[in-house]
Symmetry: C2
Subunit: 143 residues, 2 copies
Amino acid sequence: LAAVAGAACAEAAKSEDLIRWRQSAYQVLNWNMERLKANLASPQYNKDEGAKAANTIAAIANSGMGSLYAAGTDKGKGWHDTKVKPEFFTNGQKVGELAVAFNKEANELAKVAATGDAGAVKAQFGNLGKSCKACHDDFKIKD
Amino acid sequence: LAAVAGAACAEAAKSEDLIRWRQSAYQVLNWNMERLKANLASPQYNKDEGAKAANTIAAIANSGMGSLYAAGTDKGKGWHDTKVKPEFFTNGQKVGELAVAFNKEANELAKVAATGDAGAVKAQFGNLGKSCKACHDDFKIKD
Ligand code: HEC
Ligand code: HEC
């Protein structure tokens, strides 16, 4: 994971903090995907509102969430029991590929949202959503 | 609150989602304040790691969290019962002032962190922390 820098700092934090923080960061992604979806479905797409959502998503993608997956956080409870699969900690290459793809799509979304072209935002929203799903398919325990 | 734009979209979301999302966004602030504090306390301040934390904080500050305080979310449960005080919904002018101050300090932190000057980051970290506390003193129920 590119984002492993900073793991040294994060190690000082307790596992339950790290798990709660990553679950929180994903919920912030969720919020911004939902508001972007609602914006795209509304009769008049709002460019500023769309850019805010996209910029927030890109910031989380660039935040270095890898440090929230420190050793020992494969099991444990944040807001609730972690839903990460054990494979996340043993298949670093695949996790890295998925993280890079997610990062690329998120930054592309921010770029496209800055133009205000609703059609292009919609298409890129779809691409980003696929990169979330790809990681969940492999590394997140199903709800 | 400057961030009230987007409330129309957020209204489609359920109160429990909005409360969970704002509690999550504050936890992302918490994560990034903690990692910045640990970074500043470490023998060798890491510029890239500091910039990531500061940029994430600024992005949350710019995200438009006002839309997560839609009518009807003065009471209810996200991850847990909301800790917002009822005054948040009746003293919009004061909330707006505190939100603007927070926004200013967060964006200033991102600017300072980009330079990598640890002393300046430390000072601005302090200023930002005061803006968190100012809002909590008036509008957050004590833990
Ligand atoms: C590189 C892997 C990866 C990517 C990319 C990813 N996720 Fe996840 N996601 C996970 C894992 C692992 C968990 C479980 C975290 C835990 O419980 O510790 C998770 C959890 C979640 C949760 C549940 C959070 C909770 O506990 O309530 C949501 C919602 C979510 N992700 C949304 C998204 C969205 C939206 C995107 C893209 C915009 C995304 N994720 C991208 C791996 C990923
Ligand atoms: C404009 C007001 C305001 C500002 C600015 C603000 N907060 Fe808060 N904060 C709140 C309110 C209100 C709540 C309670 C939210 C709820 O429970 O619905 C809260 C809750 C929290 C929580 C608890 C989240 C949870 O439910 O676990 C943390 C942690 C937190 N804030 C940290 C911060 C940090 C760190 C900053 C600044 C970098 C900050 N806040 C800035 C108003 C603010």
